[in-house]
Symmetry: C2
Subunit: 198 residues, 2 copies
């Protein structure tokens, strides 16, 4: 066996999604063999992010500043807000560089099964953000799952009466598919063909 | 896009074996969402290993102490030395708990293609270790590859004349297979059926 410190590191890495105990061990060996060229830079990058990590109080994005880089960017169109379930979805959409507006992260989706209620998500902050004015369009970019669409319906109801156009991503998305796993082409098509809700 | 600090972290993680850009991004999101329960413990574990990492001057194992835990362990039989190509192989064999002796890590294998010569590997230190006495058996546990077996032959020649029994892992190992990927059952069988060389 390796030393307790190394075994503890393998266990921590094995908890990351996509890494099991075996690949975590290989990753540790990779780092150990490249102490200066891989281990030190990774440690520096992790420390930098860990020390500066903050949740944007405006949109729920996680970034190293609050407001986040997107909320603080004057070139982004504040009149359009894209609502997503998770930070991962925000990143996936934003990597595509197709949406020029701002975002709003719900922090999950309504789920009777998991006991997730409207008050567990950042839905009220979204309503307040839209009610504050200056927003023309809210793009509902929930996953194309039953729970994602239930969440979209709920938000549609909550925003009713506010002077804002609601759209949602076109369902060229594969049914049951999750945004974060889609290629940019699919995302682009879904975004281009977004349509009014209700 | 996420902040430059987060993008830098994704890039560092994506360089680990078994992780690509996509899974690195998911890993970062996983950490970011679990700052106290996952991110902080991982950072602590990485820092602890990085600060104490050292190569054992006796056997070439990488550990948090020198001599390493195996070399320092009086319950391990110093009369038997198992020679492996890489630290990964040492760990794989040692996890099986089947070999009660010590180890010797070569740091690679002879390879005309990659320009790896005998002086690039820890072969002379092995010869000195055996020549110093107190060693009854040297188990050659190279990979069952052409280069691994070439290395084993070379070491066999170099140890000729020294009063030591040379054995090698039985080739129940799949041809072309690499030690580090084998299940413990295969390793156990290969170790049990080890046979004299030459
Ligand atoms: Zn923000
Ligand atoms: Zn050692």
């Amino acid at each position: 066996m390796a030393s307790p410190a190394i075994e503890a590191l393998v266990q921590q890495l094995a908890r990351l999604p996509g890494l099991g105990p075996r690949s975590a061990r290989r990753a540790v060996l990779h780092l150990i063999k490249r102490r200066e060229t891989a281990f030190a830079p990774l440690l520096t990058a992790l420390t930098a992010v860990h020390e500066t990590l903050v949740t944007c109080q405006t949109c729920g994005n996680v970034d190293t500043s609050d407001p986040c880089g997107i909320c603080a960017d004057p070139r982004r169109d504040a009149r359009s807000i894209c609502v997503v379930e998770e930070v991962a979805d925000l990143w996936a959409l934003d990597r595509s560089r197709l949406f020029p507006g701002k975002y709003h992260v719900l922090g999950g989706k309504l789920s009777a099964l998991d006991g997730v209620r409207p008050e567990d998500l950042a839905i009220e902050p979204l309503v307040r953000r839209v009610a504050a004015g200056g927003v023309d369009e809210v793009v509902l970019a929930m996953n194309a799952t039953l729970e994602g669409q239930t969440t979209a319906h709920y938000i549609t109801d909550r925003l009713e009466g506010l002077p804002v156009r609601l759209t949602q991503l076109a369902h060229g998305l594969p049914v049951g598919g999750e945004l974060d796993y889609l290629d940019e082409g699919t995302l682009a098509q879904a975004l281009r063909a977004r349509r009014p809700v209700g």
